[in-house]
Symmetry: C2
Subunit: 433 residues, 2 copies
């Protein structure tokens, strides 16, 4: 780049510089050669800028610069009612910042993105550049910020947890094994143990990071690595306190989307939900009754969840519904029973538009209760030794939840497959890019 | 807990409630039984509260409640000049929230924490509760927030990157192998490839997350998993733009420490550095000359770094010093050469108080340059195929850096071993807790 002295102007700010000589930098988004001029659209992180080129030398230069080539443009900003944003750049001089780019596999300049999922994913480095794809990720990024900011305001402490562990804490079936200096070790399926431990230190903690599930099936809603937004809080009365914390997180995530990603919401036409001050909550028994399922069903099927989502919208005008009291048999052993009837638990699932988005609840906090719970399930205590010891050290009544970032984003934008909203998905078949 | 109706009062807010009946909740931090009364200190996330118990039944109850048991205390706040914070709680009724805790391996109520490193780490669940340990982590947590907030304000986009990859991007030697549905795969040593790729999408990106190095040696400054604060930015002129971005991040991290962790800084007596508006920068050649090393030394030894740290402080009054221009042979193949002399590179290390804290620099952005760089090193192109293809797709001139969170915190508080500032360290020997 010739002269770093001249500050760069972003596409979005061009309208503030009518009459000025500016320096744009970005990608060749589109070229259209007409008889007497070439329209060049430059894309940068802020949006698109139109450049009108009449000089024959510059037009020939542009002919050799394929879409996605990176360039600098020096020119003069002028008003142009017919141009996007009401301005365009004229008398342009163009400098190439690298070699001309190869032609993208999909036309990024078309408003729609017409590509199969394998194309989207195999060529992620390019396809994420499409404004609609960028917008999707901006919702995800804003959600992470909103989650953290909400918890920071509520005096939660961020923690960083090990992703390699000596034993599987959740279920042993779907865990990745690795070679740890000659010993077997496992990728962490969740930060569950660590966040419970750290409740003993900071009372309220959160962790945003990757978790790993060796799911051997390739469904549209499972990934082998996903981003888990985890929170855990101590000194709760029961799972309703946990649900209230989750409610505030969701509201904060949507607030951040509103402030960081307004353009993205508009471009995608995303229907941003309202989070009720109190999320409508029904008991699992009642949920079964509502969907007409037998009262000994141990879990909700996807079609049940969809029906309940419709019910919550019709009955409460809410995109969110909490189902509490799941049967003990279907929840992790650390789940706190419902005090008045231990067939049920102080746990919940949160449905968002009829899809399970979050699992949470109150956990056991007494050592003896853990021993009893594991014995009742006929599980060996040995793999949980380190975990269990923590509960002899003074852990208050507590609970927590985990939001899957990708599932949240997918449901928010109505993506058919969770891979569409994941930067570089990992699954049974996919280990690149 | 009997009545959730009465709101909880935090220890730090007791002074606002003189004369009131309050509900405290927390840990038994310390008990001192005197002839006519028992002093109870309750610890919660905000600090310590003194409770004076004269009732014989309650005193007997406390005798059975070891330190670290979780309790609720209902009592009346009264002024007491001799008490910490000028208030204490009297006429207390105590409710146990779990079974009495086992006696901690270290006395958490003592101002100092006198324990060997193995004790600290083996009993992390308890030892992190010591106020000095808590304070150390609060500096780390605030630093993460400050890093992200700084970049968010500068319009960087947060990304989430795969932690399992098909090929090692840095050096093949120190990589963990795992079984990915029957295929070999590797834990990511850095998000380098992904952040460069995403510069092609968002121009400016950051990623805070775990990275993995199979370091077979147990030094005081290496971990097998650490938290990497990664940033990458496009459309730079050279590495100096990258260094300026790093400078702002460090300033933001320290600002967040000032606002989130003031108490922690005070308790630890941490000397919080000033970040100069421009970090003093010297060329690698000049650094060798300053420390009296031969001018063909390829790298700086730890004692050289210490000497340079002393020089920066004496000469520039700065705890930070950037050394730029490292010899190409000692930097990763993706490092951009110094345009006027390709023996050197457009890269830098940032020393903080004489210790290398950050590596960064400008990267290659042209496909052909990558091919040449790998060929020059005699490296096969095959494992880099996906990586290299990205540079045919239009990647602007760019660069970035990575701050090791644990190394930063350790140097900030003067910890002798990086494991002291890591919640649950992982290394050659340590896979639990």
């Amino acid at each position: 780049m010739q002269s770093p002295a001249q500050p760069r102007t972003l596409a979005r700010h061009l309208a503030d510089h009518v009459g000025d000589q500016v320096r744009l930098a970005g990608w060749v988004h589109r070229r259209r050669r007409l008889a007497a001029l070439t329209f060049l659209v430059v894309r940068d992180r802020s949006g698109l800028a139109q450049v009108v080129v009449r000089d024959e030398d510059v037009r020939r230069q542009l002919d050799g610069l394929g879409e996605e080539s990176t360039i600098e443009v020096r020119g003069t900003v002028t008003s142009a009612d017919q141009a996007p944003g009401g301005v365009e750049v004229i008398d342009a001089v163009i400098e190439e910042l690298g070699a001309p780019a190869q032609t993208p596999v999909v036309a990024l300049w078309r408003p729609g993105l017409d590509a199969t999922l394998p194309i989207l994913l195999d060529h992620a480095a390019t396809t994420w550049r499409h404004p609609r794809r960028q917008a999707v990720w901006q919702l995800a990024a804003a959600s992470m910020r909103g989650f953290r900011d909400t918890l920071h305001r509520a005096h939660y402490t961020e923690i960083a947890t090990p992703k390699v562990v000596a034993a599987a804490t959740e279920s042993g079936a779907s865990v990745f094994e690795l070679d740890w200096f000659g010993r077997p070790a496992y990728l962490a399926q969740s930060p569950q143990f660590y966040k419970q431990t750290m409740v003993g230190v900071f009372e309220r903690v959160f962790d945003v990071g990757p978790v790993f599930r060796a799911e051997p099936h390739g469904t549209a809603r499972h990934l082998a690595q996903y981003t888990s937004l985890d929170a855990e809080l101590g000194f709760v009365h029961d799972h309703r306190d946990v649900l209230a914390a989750l409610r505030d997180c969701l509201a904060g995530m949507l607030e951040a989307i509103g402030s960081d990603a307004e353009q993205a919401v508009e471009l995608l036409g995303t229907r941003v939900p309202e989070v009720p001050a109190q999320i409508p909550t029904i008991h699992f028994r009642e949920a079964l009754r509502l969907v007409g399922a037998p009262d000994d069903e141990p879990d909700l099927a996807p079609e049940h969840e969809r029906a309940l989502g419709g019910w919550a919208l019709a009955e409460h005008g809410s995109d969110f519904l909490a189902v509490e009291g799941y049967p003990a048999a279907k929840r992790a052993f650390y789940t706190h029973p419902q005090p008045d009837d231990p067939r049920w638990t102080n746990s919940f699932d949160l449905l968002f538009r009829g899809l399970e988005l979050v699992s949470g609840g109150q956990r056991l906090h007494r050592y003896d209760d853990y021993i009893r719970a594991l014995e009742l399930r006929g599980e060996s205590l040995a793999p949980y030794e380190t975990y269990l010891d923590v509960f002899r050290r003074g852990i208050p009544p507590h609970g927590g939840f985990a939001v899957g970032l990708e599932r949240w984003t997918a449901q928010l934008v109505g993506a058919a497959n969770i891979r569409e909203v994941t930067l570089f998905p990992r699954d049974l078949h996919r280990l690149t890019p």
